[in-house]
Amino acid sequence: MKKLFLLVLCLLTVLTLAGCGEKKEEEPVVDDNPYAGLKIAMVSDTVGTDQFILQAKNKLEEMAAEYGFTATVIECTNTDDWEQKSRNACEQGYNLLVAVGWTGAQAMSTLADEFPDIEFGIIDTIASNERVMSINFNTTDGCYVMGAMVATAFKDDTKFGYIGNFQQQSNFEYKYGFMEGVKSVNPDAEFVAAYADTYGDTSATYNKAVEVVAALGDEGHFVMGSVANSANAGIYQYALERGEEGKPFYTSGLSVDQTTSENPYIVTGLTKNTAIPMETIVKDFLEDGKVTGGKTTLGVNENAFCVVGVTFDANYRNSEIMTDEAIAAGKKAAEDLASGAVVLPYVMEEDYKE
């Protein structure tokens, strides 16, 4: 009897609360805006405070306000969500789905085959399906710019460090650009590279930083941090500790501008501006309701792949290291790439000779 009473009580609570839940009134569509009926969804990891996702989201919402289409963000909490939630959006009549991040490639490719009337885009990777508009970043060019800047900043160094996530082609594109950039200033430079074999484990990157810095000895003071936005923290931590001990080495950030006065040993960085590819895809779609499939690459000259200190001013500039001369060298390298004076051919890691 008591149980029944409790049950009824609970139900009543819900029903009462139901009354409290305010119903939002839908605004009637007044004008004959051709975009008003369109529904565009962005599919990404949980948005949170991740700049990489936020930039794309803000751009999409800004464009939705400007053009009058409906924009929704679909957040995925696990790898299975990407396809399942995107499929759900397809079933619910969305017109364009834009995935942010490489995890979405497989899902977009699969759904593009199954839903011929819906358009798909992806940012930061290339989907295998030609129907998907893939916008990738030219990372090599940006890393070249950073390499030229860093080599100018550390003129007396003969060795440069590099810590990547996995030894694979996508990471090599960073390393290759960086090495070419350094060598454009210091042709005899040598490199010490290590791979943390993780995207997320900061203790692994910390240990690799210890190894690489030991290998550099007195001949090098810069280690490029190329693991991942968060996992790079292991490198920053070690840089801070060494700096406090009076034996500093310097490093670079990834994904967002990570320079800060709290850790002056992070002197530059590489960021991806996802707002630019998002704008490119959505504009392309709005023109005629279709996206141009296939692959597009945006780089340092489109302000899509940015070098902190060159493309934009750093949050915190360590002027002792990042001298005006170093920054000028970076800007010069970017101009050389834009004018075609320097061209970096695509190279596979196995074919590259240091």
Binding site: L7, G21, A105
Partner: protein
Amino acid sequence: MNKIMNKIGNSNILFSLMAILAGLLVGGVIMAITGQNPVEGILGLLKGGYLTSYAIASTLTRATPIIFAGLSAALAWGSGYSSMGAQGQMIIGAITAAIVAPRLGFLPPFLAVIITLIFSMTAGALYSLISAHISAKYDAYLLIVTLMFNYLADYLASYLTNYVFLDPVALDKLAIQTIKIEGSILPRIFPRYTTHYGFLIALIAVAATAFIINKTSFGYKARMGGLNAGFAEYGGIDSRKTMYKVLLLSGALAGLGGACEVLGTKFRYVDKMITSPGYSWSGITASLMSNYNIIGVLFSSIFLSGIAIGGSTIELSMNIPSEITQIIQGVITMLVTAKFVIRWHRKENGRKEAETK
């Protein structure tokens, strides 16, 4: 209050239903607090999870790996062996399938799929056997050993995928995945919906496991061991032998589940494809909800899957954050686990009473 707790503890179905109701209730309250209409929200959740053909199909697709993990857990825990190893065994089964299937292209697809499934079951079973052996030989807690072996399997699969079997033709260079399996796959039952033949295999697995547990002498021994290990031993049941057999079978089921996920939905091994969606944890929850009842696992798995699918539907159509459905699942899990605390509490009380007498 004690009376109520005792009554609830006695009826498993009633208890699970109460847990579900409480979960939905808490979800509804949170929806109301965040300014959503909870009745519409809960109805939308149920509709999006179970009440349209598309919803049912999606729910069954997602339920398939959960059923296998749930069976694996129900079998082990129901027999008194606290194995958490379903995840690792699923991973081993999945990576085995992703390696074996593309190399059987010369065979007719049906045969290739059968052989792949056998390979994956064997791999899962052997993997489970290693932790069983370590546990038996060195008297280590099976729970801890299997839990650690999950990490081992995950990293092993990551390594194999990244350095040995990485898809050489992928345009997407960041993706850590094996080559796509063409042909030798578990096709969809209806072309329009994602549910694949792996679900039918799951149904067969449920029936077979139920038969083994309820109708064979091995099943009897296993159940006895679960109910009272000391009594079973006294009655002449070799508990170590039973443990090996139970864990072997439990590993085979999990391995099969991993294979079905590869052959039915992803068609390749993608790094973290088993760990990230938490299939094995949902499976363990499903087995707890059904109180290790084999047939019950089928329904609780489908229920849990439907909540997740329905959640993603209302997220899109009503803008209700998916965290709400995760809270609902969390409350259900918590309450279902609480059942064990109630039981344990009762057992302890009983023992104390006996001691004082």
